[in-house]
Symmetry: C2
Subunit: 121 residues, 2 copies
């Protein structure tokens, strides 16, 4: 039962688009997604699930209605379900997002930045 | 709804024991655990769940009955449920393990290395 290991750097080399998470693995009914982010995302929340952010390179900020959290390489944050958040990155930041299969990046908000199909890399 | 970010380095500074995973966060009914590993663990499997290994520092090997996978910093592997595996690290290696709450480190095998209580750090 030998499948392939996943190398983050190799996976990141395969896409450039910002705010466009790429699935790299599944664990039970959860998915691991790599993303490159830069600039401001939109306010949104995920009604039914927590969402985990791990910063693999660079710096980002998670804005909340009542404050914000700055995350650097080697740091993680679990956004509780239903909590409005807005990811922001001044310079390009590389993150690993972990959440259940089927979660849409823009959550309840929808809009142009919505990725509603499964993009693997 | 502002909770604390998690810094891997700060968390690792709080324990030294090998093969003794420490919970750092929960996402829904899943847990994130940091571990320091060195030497050979035992053969075991987890009947009901996949298990994710992410190497944060150092190198490790996941041995399987039909081969092995070497993992370095920045690499991850999802061990499918029910698959026998044996983690090994020649030098100390720092890993992040992600799996459902309640999973026991020695799986079906039991024995002296079993951690059967929740250790947070």
């Amino acid at each position: 039962m030998l499948s392939k290991k996943i190398n983050f750097k190799n996976k990141y080399a395969k896409f450039t688009k910002h705010w466009s998470p790429r699935i790299i693995a599944e664990m039970n009914d959860y998915q691991f997604k790599l993303a490159k982010i830069k600039g401001e995302f939109i306010w949104h929340n995920h009604t039914h699930t927590d969402e985990t952010f791990i910063v693999l390179d660079g710096n980002m900020t998670l804005k909340f209605r009542d404050g914000e959290v700055n995350l650097s390489k080697g740091e993680m944050y679990v956004v509780p379900k239903g909590v409005d958040h807005k990811p922001v990155a001044f310079n390009e930041c590389k993150i690993l997002v972990i959440e259940p299969k089927g979660v849409i990046n823009t959550g309840d908000a929808g809009g142009d930045l919505t990725i509603d199909k499964e993009l693997w890399v």
